[in-house]
């Protein structure tokens, strides 16, 4: 029984890490209506940046998380402005290819520059084991989880209660009407893409404490994020958070009861089942089969 509860705790904490990545992904999809296949590579770039900052300036990943979030905000904004904006009215397959192209280029660029070795910032804060009662976990996991909750809350408040946030939600529902109501579409898209990418930067700082950087690290996390976002419904913020916790639990439980090699199989099967049975996800915008 205590193993089971320990697994639940592990799963929820892991879900917190996924949540930050997934919120960014779902925000970009919800507003810009583009599935960002390069999302994982943004994470990878962020993790290398964190590692470089730790290596050369001795910054703790939690400190550089802020810097890297800003850097990725700019990168995301640029990607929207230079790659996505010209293709807004293009066919879906063209947009897919565009983000896939960025993803391929970034991944291989990392391979060229850093090689295939893993790079890890060695820190103590964030890696100490903690225990509450019979359960143990790593302090960084708790910090990540707390930050994830804060990020979700702030994003939610921003979308609900600020003028800009309302503009983004209006855009998500109808691009043309929002433009008629005075929302500057291009600027809002750059903002949304920037925020989505910025959150990934934040996640990079948090994850770098426990995970090393390597060229395909983004694929590892982002395939899971896609599963989460489809599960929760593309474009849904609560969906992304609940989906993250759910997948975190599946990851942890399936890893123990089914076997570590097959846990991903389990959640990809969940993913396929959701796509096939209810492509709008649990809280989605209803665009899955369009």
């Amino acid at each position: 029984m205590s193993i089971f509860i320990q697994l639940l705790v592990n799963g929820l904490l892991l879900g917190g890490a996924y949540a930050i990545i997934s919120i960014g992904l779902t925000l970009i999809f919800g507003v810009v209506r583009v599935v960002n296949f390069a999302h994982g590579e943004f994470l990878m770039v962020g993790m290398y940046a964190v590692w470089l900052l730790a290596q050369h300036l001795g910054l703790h990943p939690y400190t550089s998380a802020i810097l890297v979030a800003v850097m990725l905000f700019v990168m995301g904004g640029l990607m929207q402005r230079l790659v996505i904006q010209p293709l807004l009215s293009a066919d879906a397959h063209i947009q897919i290819f565009a983000t896939v192209g960025v993803s391929t280029a970034l991944l291989n660029l990392a391979l060229m520059v850093f090689g295939a070795d893993i790079r890890k910032a060695e820190v103590t804060f964030g890696t100490e084991p903690m225990s509450v009662g019979a359960f143990t976990f790593v302090s960084g996991q708790v910090i990540t989880f707390v930050v994830a909750i804060v990020v979700a809350a702030v994003t939610h408040l921003f979308l609900k209660h600020t003028y800009t946030g309302r503009g983004l939600r209006a855009l998500a529902q109808n691009r043309m009407s929002a433009a008629l109501m005075g929302v500057d579409v291009n600027k809002a898209y750059i903002l949304a893409f920037g925020i989505g990418a910025g959150l990934v930067g934040l996640a990079a700082g948090l994850l770098a404490v426990q995970y090393p950087a390597f060229p395909t690290v983004g694929q590892y996390f982002v395939l899971t994020a896609f599963v989460i976002v489809v599960l929760g419904g593309m474009g849904s913020l609560p969906g992304a958070v609940i989906g993250s916790l759910f997948i975190g639990l599946i990851d942890s439980l399936a890893g123990y009861y089914v076997g570590p090699g097959l846990k991903e199989v389990v959640y990809f099967l969940v993913f396929l089942a959701i796509l096939i049975v209810r492509p709008t996800g649990l809280f989605g915008l209803g665009r899955g089969s369009e």
Binding site: S103, T104, A105, E290
Partner: protein
């Protein structure tokens, strides 16, 4: 079917293909051989992918799953049981075909990125399972193919032998793709890609077309995978089932031109050698170089040449080629159009019956006990104020909406039948147009109409003949060669009618074909509808233009609030107080009496 060899388009194309064989044979360098073999393999894979990704527009990013299945099936059969890969590759193809069915059927209704994500997920699942089943797949460590040299083992000492076999597989994929693009099946795939509803309205079984494309593509991919496995002599899950390879295959097709036969080949021939050379020149940078080149190229192509090299350059190149001797277009033989369908009922007898149709959308009764009958040789006008439920009735009459209660039956050669889906309605002789026009914009006017004609013939020439005849009836003859997207509104509406007519319907359902037309187009359209009726087709039309409806219709049905309000001769209907009230409200009658 075979094109004339003396046509420059044909011999230039064949020479281009043969040069993939001849250049390395002349150069005799191992690197050039390797390059040519890789070009053959990837051009074949891209061509196979294009059948699903280009023709059918389903952007699979998990195609490596079929490649992997092909290479692993052949590899395992030869390693464990000593079965020749020439046999093993068919086992792989069978597994791939089954896998394609398994993937295609549930993902049919997914579009764009969702379909792509689903294909990636399938790829990941299979890869993880292959890694996990270590005991017989070799797991992540990989699998060595036994080095038995000789033709039966598909493993050779000389590179030229590999090249010949690779070229053979490539030629097979290309031939299949070419045949599909020219056939009715190819037309159907493009129609389903562009507008699934309109395709179903002309009798295309969209589900069957997509699944067939997926299976054919999977089988070809798998066969090539089997060969490539033997060429590499080493299989590992991380490269055989890789997302990277799936993307690469799709990318070659996109760069060359999606949905064209030569596009994937040209994309591969141009890009693959450049990337391989870059890998050599920039080897100091390690492994990522060619991938980086691919990624950057992909973004550039998408931004500046989204239709691919073939899409942007083919017209210019073809014009150059046509200047060569013999280059004038050969005129296709003009066949006489097959005879029109004979009317089954005598004038004035029922040919379509709707009985007690009910349809609710949530709390809204969109159709509330509607019954109507269309008679042979008449024009039946369906009118009603906005929101009365006319289009909902119309969609039930053509199978796009299933009624909650009630039935629609149609008189066919086999007596009265009640079709269940749009394509079955089309085959039962019911043609329809769409209120919001749905032309296949990428196709010419001629090809649009041919799509309808293909319902009764597989033969291109016969379909063309029908198209010409229908174009005559719908005033489109002079526009046959223009692209559908450049038509005026009036032209598009007539094209809608033409496409429906080309299916040789006995019943034609017209959904507001006069709406939005200028006065001269309205006059043309009215004459056209009369001509259609006189040709023996019974017409049911929804229309808002009162005068035109009054002038055209033999009978009129008025629908209001989802119910039939009145039915009768035009003159009686317009003077009916209930009808006037439905359109103009109670105030109007009060004002009249006052």
């Amino acid at each position: 079917m075979m094109p004339p060899i003396l046509n420059p388009r044909v011999y230039i194309g064949l020479l281009g293909l043969l040069s993939i064989l001849l250049v390395p044979l002349a150069a005799q360098s191992p690197f050039v051989y390797h390059l040519a073999i890789q070009v053959c393999v990837f051009a074949g894979l891209a061509t196979a992918w294009n059948i699903v990704g280009g023709f059918a527009g389903q952007l699979s990013l998990g195609h490596a799953v079929f490649y992997g299945i092909g290479s692993y099936s052949a590899g395992l059969l030869v390693a464990k049981f000593g079965i020749s890969p020439w046999i093993g590759m068919f086992a792989g193809a069978a597994v791939s075909a089954a896998m394609a069915l398994l993937i295609a059927y549930p993902t049919l209704r997914l579009r764009g990125p969702f379909f792509s994500l689903a294909t990636i997920a399938f790829l990941e699942v299979v890869r993880l399972l292959v890694v996990h089943q270590e005991s017989w797949t070799g797991g992540s460590a990989g699998l060595n193919v036994p080095l038995q040299i000789g033709l039966p083992w598909m493993i050779f000492r000389e590179k030229w032998a590999y090249l010949l076999v690779a070229f053979g597989f490539f030629a097979l994929a290309l031939a299949v793709s070419w045949l599909i693009r020219r056939s009715r099946f190819g037309f159907y795939l493009i129609a389903v890609r562009e507008r699934e509803d309109a395709a179903r309205a002309v009798g295309v079984n969209a589900v069957r077309a997509k699944i067939a494309a997926a299976v054919i593509s999977a089988v070809l991919t798998s066969l090539i995978g089997s060969f490539h496995g033997m060429y590499l002599t080493f299989l590992e899950p991380s490269s055989a089932f890789s997302l990277e390879m799936s993307i690469q295959i799709a990318m070659f097709a996109l760069i060359g031109g999606l949905g064209t036969v030569v596009g994937p080949v040209i994309g591969t021939v141009l890009v693959l050698p450049v990337a391989e050379l870059a890998r050599g020149w920039l080897s100091a940078f390690g492994n990522g170089t060619h991938g980086f080149v691919y990624g950057v190229l992909l973004v550039v192509v998408v931004l500046y040449f989204p239709r691919g090299l073939v899409g942007h350059l083919s017209e210019r190149v073809l014009r150059l080629i046509d200047r060569l001797p013999n280059g004038a277009k050969a005129k296709a033989a003009v066949l006489p159009a097959p005879a029109a369908q004979k009317p089954l009922a005598t004038q004035g007898q029922p040919i379509l019956r709707a009985e007690g149709l009910h349809k609710r959308f949530g709390g809204l009764k969109a159709t509330d006990n509607v019954s109507l009958t269309l008679h042979q040789g008449e024009i039946l006008g369906v009118i009603g104020p906005n929101g009365a439920g006319k289009t909902t009735v119309f969609n039930q009459l053509s199978g796009f909406i299933k009624p909650d209660q009630g039935s629609v039956s149609v008189l066919t050669e086999n007596g009265w039948v009640s079709p269940r889906s749009p394509e079955v309605f089309a085959h039962a002789g019911v043609g329809r147009t769409f209120q919001i026009v749905q032309p296949f914009t990428g196709l010419s006017v001629m090809e649009n109409i041919m799509l309808g004609a293909f319902m009764h013939t597989r033969n291109r020439a016969a379909a063309e003949a029908i198209a010409r005849e229908v174009a005559q009836l719908t005033d489109l003859t002079s526009l046959l060669d223009t692209e559908a997207r450049s038509l005026t509104v009036g032209g598009m509406k007539r094209l809608e009618v033409a496409r429906a007519l080309a299916t040789r319907p006995r019943i034609l359902l017209l959904d507001e074909v006069l709406a939005g037309l200028n006065p001269s187009d309205v006059t043309r359209a009215i004459e056209m509808i009369r001509r259609i009726r006189d040709a023996g087709v019974s017409v049911l039309m929804i229309e808002h233009l009162m005068q035109a409806t009054m002038a055209l219709s033999d009978r009129i049905v008025v629908i209001n609030l989802g119910q039939v309000l009145r039915e009768g001769k035009p003159a009686d209907v317009v003077n009916d107080p209930a009808v006037i009230e439905a359109y103009l409200g109670k105030g109007y009658t009060h004002a009249q009496t006052a």
